[in-house]
Each structure stands twice: as structure tokens, then as C-alpha cells.
């Protein structure tokens, strides 16, 4: 397969953002009909590379050669013209339109007077669907299709654009085993027809099954090429890690105490068939690792009472409790720092003081009337304690940096009496300095007897901050690791569903 001449070459591509090097000296060529596996951890530079291929981002350095013509960057239109198409992780389809309309959106065959030629449209779409072995008609509403079927629609759309290269970003992350198998067949079929595929996935077994060669990215660099025969699970993992994990770790002041919060046989709506049992101990930071979509956020949301739980029980201090709403959780000292700070954690138009007092507002009121002074005094104290950088507590929270916003979310809960705090991606989008401060705070809280669960997709954080790690895989706990067992390799193995031996 590799004998064919490449039609697309990326040569020494570099991309820097202020303060960060996302990609350095990355070269990649794509020949007709080959399937390239692209693997690497979160933040290794995969998405930046894809943005450059799609014409969304311009490289800072390097050359892109398409069919022999060299250029410094591509626009989205250039990429489309070069035959590059994406099948995104979050599918970009209109659920309210039918399959045919989605495939030809913006390029509808017309009859004149601006009317759509429905017959020509369906005649064009039918052979595409047939070629992919689709089990749904062209006039099915996309909203009624399963995720796997929607993916086929995206692929049909790529084919309708005469794509020569289809880039699939985590295409199997929400598919069942048989759907995955069908998708891999489709990929094999594309290859036979001379269409190239770049397959980005954390699921290494699937990469093993479909890729002709694999490129491994780490910290923005290509750290390995594997040919067909060399593609093996452990070889890929070995290349993906090997990053120097600075020892962030600050050990706890004393050994962990009793279990404060425990869940047993706990099932969420995301994975109603899988159950989770785990215990959060006083004074301990339990890291919860796993791939995106493993059900970690859903677990935290259900424990906090945002989502309904399907089954199982929660115990707090040994007593079984009911949590049906966030109100119940908050009353018992179980707090959540949500993943999406801007949408769920804060009211960006409210001031710092108004955000901090919100979950405990009656405390700042006399006869149901708010005492602005009491709110401001507490907010000032929290601002001082957490080193929130703002001129005063009456500034709009939306005007603060990510790190300071996160500190405001923390200040909400620290103003009350925490027993358990669930952190969901606590340092996402936060600069290095503020990260360190947040870790310090978490340790400080743990030492004061609070039980902490930290959901994180950042390997450095999981290994550097946790006292113990639980790894989730497709809605269930794949395993627990104690401090002396920590390694990136073990976490990854468990996260992709392999058992440790």
C-alpha cells in the first residue's frame, strides 16, 4: 500500500500558541488508500494537527504540499477542495432534516426558482448509502437514527464531496461492539476504493485492527512510526507515555480515615447496565481516571443529585442517604465543582460576592432580606484566603481569568461546611500557576478531613495529585491503584479496558 505516491504531505509543521508549543516538526504524508492510526494522550497535539489539516488553524512553521503544490497554510475551502473530509466526534448534523438533506446541505440540486429538486437529491444519495451498506433510507430523519447510523451519514457526506482523505476523530467512542465492527468494515471498503483514512482513537485494539501504519504523538512531537507488523497495544502505549511526570505530589498529613461517602451498586442513566462501587475516605484524594465518555462525569452528577440515579445506594458516614436533588447533597455537605465552569459552576454576570453566597443565601439574610455587608465580608475573606486576583468582590465573575473563576467556584463551597467535594476536571483551561494553587488547596482540604474525588483526564494531574486512583472504563470501575502502583502505563491499560497482571 505504501508504494503509492503521497498526495498530501505535511513537512516540519510547527504550531505555537502564546506560551505553548502545540506541535513541533511534525511530518506526515498520506498516500491514496492507506489507513493511518494516530494515537497519543489528551493534549499530545492530535487535535491541533487535525485543525491544520482541516484549514481551521494555520501552522506557525512548515509547509503543506497537496498534489505537488506547496503552501504555508490551507483554508477550509482549500481543504475541502483537496478532498479532506472530517467525521467529527460531536457529529455536525441537523437532526430535524432527513438524511439526503444533510448530505447535500448547502449544495442542494435545484429546479429553478430556488426550489429543491428532491428527486435528483435522492437519486444522488441512494447509491452512496448503498455503497456504505446503510440500513436506513435516504428520507429517514437524522434525529431518529442511532449514533452509528449518523456516523455513516457523515461518511456518506464525505464521499459525496469526493473525499480522498477521511479523518475520523474517536469514531467508535460511543458505538457498541457490533457497530464498531461494521465501521471497521466500512473503513476497509474505503481503503479498497482508494480513499485514505486517518483514524484517531484511544481504543488501541481498533487501531490494531484497521491501521496500515500508526503515528504516535507526544507533547506535540512525532515520537514513533509503527509499520503494519509492529502495531501492537503495548508498543503504542510505550511510545505514548514516557513523559517526565514531575513530582507534584504532596503526601497527606496523616493516613486516610474512615469512608465518608461510599456508593454501592450505583448505576447512572449513561450506563444503566453497569454498576459502580467506591468509597471516599476522609483525608484522601481519590483520583478518578478514564477516557472521555467513560461515565465519570455522569457518576459525579448522579451522586450530587443533578441526574436521577438508576439504582444503588449512597452512604454518608455509614448511614444510607437519599440524594434526589443538588439541594439534598448540599445540605449534607456533599459538593460538586462541575466540569463546565462557565455554564454550570458560575453565573458569569453575577459578581464574585453574589456567586459565593448563592448556595447558602439564607445565611446572609435577616428576615429574608439580604444583608449585603455580610455577603461582602465573607467574599472578601474568601478572596484573601484563596488569593482570588480581582480589585474587589463586586466585579463581574465573567471578567476574571479561568483560574480565578475556578477559585470563586471553590469559594462557594469553602464558605460552607464541606464533608465531600467532587472535583470534575478541576484545572481544565487554567494556567500553570493557578493549577498549583488549586492542588495546594485540595491537599489542604483533605488534610482537614474532607474526602475528595478528583475526576481528571490529565495524566500528570491524576498521578501527581491523587493518593489513590480509580480507573473507569465504559461505566464500570476497571480497577484501583495504590500510590506505589501508580504508572501511566497501568492507568492507560485499565482505561482502555485491559486487565492488569
Amino acid at each position: 500500500m505504501n508504494t503509492a505516491t503521497p498526495f498530501l504531505d505535511l513537512i516540519d509543521i510547527g504550531k505555537t500558541y502564546p506560551g505553548v508549543t502545540a506541535l513541533a516538526e511534525v511530518s506526515l504524508s498520506v498516500a491514496p488508500g492507506e489507513t493511518i492510526g494516530l494515537v497519543g494522550e489528551n493534549g499530545a497535539g492530535k487535535s491541533t494537527l487535525m485543525k491544520i489539516l482541516g484549514g481551521v488553524a494555520a501552522p506557525s512553521r512548515g509547509t503543506i504540499r497537496v498534489d505537488g503544490a506547496e503552501r504555508a497554510a490551507m483554508t477550509v475551502a482549500d481543504a475541502t477542495k483537496a478532498g479532506i473530509a472530517f467525521v467529527h466526534q460531536e457529529l455536525n448534523l441537523f437532526e430535524n432534516l432527513d438524511v439526503a438533506a444533510n448530505i447535500y446541505i448547502g449544495r442542494e440540486p435545484r429546479k429553478g426558482w430556488g426550489l429543491i429538486d428532491e428527486k435528483a437529491l435522492h437519486d444522488k444519495v441512494k447509491p452512496l448509502l448503498q455503497r456504505l451498506g446503510a440500513d436506513f433510507p435516504a428520507d429517514a430523519l437524522v434525529g431518529d437514527l442511532s449514533l452509528a447510523q449518523r456516523q455513516l451519514v457523515e461518511i456518506a457526506k464525505a464521499l459525496s464531496l469526493d473525499a480522498r482523505l477521511v479523518i475520523m476523530d474517536e469514531p467508535t467512542s460511543s458505538l457498541t461492539a457490533s457497530e464498531t465492527s461494521r465501521l471497521l468494515d466500512v473503513i476497509a471498503d474505503l481503503r479498497a476504493n482508494g480513499v485514505s483514512v486517518i483514524f484517531i482513537s484511544h481504543r488501541l485494539q481498533e487501531v490494531e485492527r484497521c491501521a496500515d501504519r500508526v503515528i504516535v504523538l507526544r507533547d506535540g512531537k512525532v515520537v514513533g512510526h509503527l509499520g503494519r507488523e509492529e502495531i501492537r497495544h503495548d508498543a503504542m502505549i510505550r511510545l505514548m507515555i514516557g513523559r517526565d511526570l514531575k513530582s507534584l505530589y504532596v503526601p497527606p498529613a496523616r493516613a486516610p480515615g474512615e469512608a465518608v461517602l461510599s456508593v454501592a451498586g450505583f448505576r447512572t442513566t449513561a450506563f444503566p447496565g453497569k454498576d459502580v462501587s467506591l468509597a471516599l475516605r476522609a483525608g484522601e484524594i481519590l483520583g478518578l481516571a478514564g477516557l472521555v465518555g467513560a461515565g465519570r462525569t455522569e457518576l459525579a452528577r448522579a451522586v450530587f443529585g443533578i441526574d436521577r440515579r438508576v439504582g444503588g445506594e449512597i452512604r454518608l458516614g455509614g448511614e444510607p442517604i437519599r440524594i434526589d436533588s443538588p439541594r439534598d447533597a448540599i445540605h449534607r455537605g456533599v459538593y460538586l465543582i462541575p466540569e463546565d465552569r462557565k455554564l454550570c459552576g458560575l453565573l458569569l454576570d453575577f459578581t464574585i460576592a453574589e456567586n459565593i453566597s448563592l448556595p447558602d443565601l439564607p445565611r446572609y439574610a435577616r428576615a429574608a432580606l439580604l444583608q449585603g455587608g455580610a455577603e461582602a465580608r465573607n467574599a472578601e475573606a474568601q478572596k484573601e484566603r484563596l488569593r482570588i486576583r480581582a480589585p474587589h468582590v463586586a466585579v463581574r465573575t465573567g471578567s476574571l481569568s479561568g483560574g480565578n473563576q475556578q477559585k470563586v467556584v471553590l469559594a462557594k463551597w469553602l464558605s460552607m461546611r464541606p464533608r465531600v467535594i467532587l472535583f470534575d476536571e478541576p484545572t481544565r483551561g487554567i494556567d500553570v500557576g493557578a493549577k498549583g494553587e488549586i492542588y495546594e488547596l485540595m491537599r489542604h482540604l483533605a488534610d482537614s478531613g474532607v474526602a475528595i474525588l478528583m475526576i481528571s483526564s490529565d495524566m500528570e494531574e491524576v498521578i501527581g495529585v491523587s493518593d489513590r486512583i480509580a480507573v473507569m472504563h465504559e461505566g464500570a470501575i476497571a480497577g484501583f491503584l495504590d500510590r506505589h502502583q501508580f504508572s501511566e502505563d497501568r492507568v492507560l491499560q485499565l482505561a482502555v479496558g485491559k486487565t492488569l497482571h
Binding site: 436533588s325 439541594r327 453565573l347 458569569l348 454576570d349 453575577f350 448563592l358 448556595p359
Partner: protein, 319 residues
């Protein structure tokens, strides 16, 4: 927030001065008193509308509620001979019940506020017409309720009592909106319901409470309007009044997206609307142009406000 209110106040003064210069009768005690009465009548339910709009909702059934509760009120007094305090109580409770029903449909059944209250608009108007067999409900000649009339249509030192009640309500509800725990929750829910939920606020209860408050104020306003007109033809009584309330709230700085608004703004909005009505009468503009003038001024007001806000933000360097 305060700057917005100040702008509105200036607009009222400018319009008022212009009208007064062109037609000095604007400032005559009788004209001022009549205008104040209308401000009171329309202002009362505009307050409730403001609360609903701050949650990000809308209440379109206001005018139909006036027709329905109005004919029932007159019937209770005239046909059934109920004592008027009891009748008022029943009407206000009926208003609360309707508001509660709207709130339940919106929060528990997840229907859109526009749809729920649009259906209310049609249903209540229909029932009112059926109830009176499309006739007119009114007080027979010679029947009087001196105490009730003093409370509703009476005046002290030339100040109509409807206006007094409106101002009292505005003060109380202003404190509720801007100083109470509930008021803060109302803004939080309107601005970002998800974040409010994550902070442990029972968001459904807050939304229902806003519709209940609006319903209660509608019930009270229904009594005042019935006493003001003294006869109700249910096919037209109160028609489009919800639009006056929405206009007052929007002029007063309430955003239809929710989370924004002030009591002072709503009061000033209600005043401006009636001054405009008065302007049409006093300047000899054909009264058929009434709505057109109102619409034009609101449009210009909202446009100007947006321009000012943009300029202010540009000065502060915000995106």
C-alpha cells in the same frame, strides 16, 4: 442598571415637557390625576409581568384573565350578593391558582411559557364569553358599594387610590426583587438555570412563584379594572393589556432572555406608556394611531439603549 433607569426618567421628562409646552392642559390637575389612575391600573400587573420576564418567561393570558375574573367578580357582587372583601379575596386566589397552573405546566410538563400562556389567553377569553353568553356584565343602575368604590376608584387630595396602591406594591415588590433571597434566586434562575441548579436552588419552585405572583397581581388588577369600567363586555375587556405590561417591562430594562430588570425600570416604563397615550390625546393625533406611536417610541427607546450600552462597554474595553 441605575443608568438605564435614569435614561428612562430623562425620556419621560423630555416627552412630558414637550407635551406640556405644546398643550398646557397636560399639567392640569384633572389630566394628571386621570393619567395617574391609568398608570396605577396598568402598572399593577406590569410588576407581575416583570417578575415572569426576569425568569425568562412570558405571560400572555393577562388580558383574558381580566375578562374572566372581571365578569366573575361582578357576578359575585351583583348576582350572589357576596360581601366585597370576600369577593376580592376569591378573585385574587383565583388569579394565584391560574398562575400556579401556568407555572406547573411550564416547569413540570416542560412546556414553553409562550405556548402555555397563549393557550390561557384563548381559553380564559372563551370561558368568559360563554359564562356571560357574550353579554355584558355590569352593575345595575343605582347599585353602589361606597367602601369598595373609595378603595378602587376613589381619590385622596386628587391622587387616585389605584396609583397609591400601585406605588405601595412597587415598593414592596421592589424590596422583594432587589433585597430578598427570593429576588436573588429569581435573577439567578433567569440568567442561568443550570448554574442555579448546581448551587442547590429549587429552580422549579422559583419559576412557579413568579407566575403565582403575576397571577395574584392580575387578580387584584382585575378588580380595579372592573370597578373602573363598571361594565365588562368579555369579548373585548382587557384585550392586548398583556402587551402593555410586556412593553412596560421591556422599556424598563427587562430582557426577554431573562435575568435582567429592575422595579424602578418597570415603574418608569409603565409611566412612560401612559404619558405617551396621553400625548396622543392631547396633541390631537388621531387616536387610531395610538398603538403606532407607542410601538415607534418603544422601538426608538430600545435602539437608543442598545447603542448607549454598546458605547459604554466599548469605553470599558469589554468585547
Amino acid at each position: 442598571m441605575f443608568k438605564k433607569d435614569l435614561g428612562l426618567l430623562i425620556l419621560i421628562l423630555v416627552v412630558g415637557t414637550a407635551v406640556a409646552i405644546i398643550n398646557p392642559r397636560f399639567l392640569s390637575p384633572i389630566n394628571l390625576s386621570n393619567t395617574a389612575n391609568l398608570i396605577g391600573l396598568f402598572g399593577m400587573f406590569s410588576i407581575g409581568m416583570g417578575f415572569v420576564i426576569i425568569t425568562g418567561g412570558i405571560e400572555l393570558s393577562v388580558g383574558s384573565i381580566f375578562a374572566l375574573l372581571g365578569v366573575v367578580f361582578i357576578d359575585l357582587l351583583v348576582t350572589f350578593g357576596w360581601p366585597w372583601p370576600l369577593a376580592i379575596l376569591v378573585i385574587v386566589i383565583a388569579g394565584i391558582a391560574l398562575g400556579w397552573l401556568h407555572g406547573i405546566l411550564i416547569t413540570r410538563m416542560h412546556l414553553q411559557p409562550f405556548v402555555v400562556t397563549l393557550c390561557g389567553l384563548l381559553i380564559y377569553r372563551g370561558i368568559a364569553r360563554w359564562y356571560t353568553e357574550d353579554g355584558t356584565a355590569g352593575f345595575e343602575f343605582g347599585i353602589t358599594f361606597p367602601a369598595l368604590e373609595w378603595l378602587t376608584t376613589g381619590r385622596s387630595f386628587g391622587v387616585p387610590h389605584s396609583f397609591v396602591v400601585f406605588i405601595l406594591l412597587a415598593v414592596v415588590m421592589g424590596v422583594v426583587l432587589h433585597r430578598s433571597v427570593f429576588g436573588r434566586y429569581l435573577f439567578a434562575v433567569g440568567k442561568n438555570e443550570e448554574a442555579a441548579r448546581y448551587s442547590g436552588i429549587n429552580t422549579s419552585r422559583i419559576v412557579i412563584a413568579a407566575y403565582v405572583i403575576s397571577g395574584a397581581l392580575c387578580g387584584l388588577a382585575a378588580v380595579y379594572l372592573a370597578m373602573y369600567t363598571r361594565s365588562i363586555s368579555p369579548a373585548s375587556h382587557g384585550s392586548f393589556y398583556e402587551l402593555y405590561a410586556i412593553a412596560a417591562a421591556v422599556l424598563g430594562g427587562c430582557s426577554l432572555r431573562g435575568g435582567e430588570g429592575s422595579m424602578l425600570g418597570i415603574v418608569l416604563g409603565a409611566i412612560l406608556l401612559q404619558v405617551l397615550q396621553n400625548l396622543v390625546n392631547l396633541l390631537g393625533i388621531p387616536s387610531s394611531l395610538n398603538f403606532a406611536v407607542m410601538g415607534g417610541v418603544i422601538l426608538i427607546g430600545v435602539l437608543a439603549d442598545q447603542q448607549f450600552t454598546r458605547r459604554r462597554q466599548a469605553r470599558l474595553g469589554k468585547p
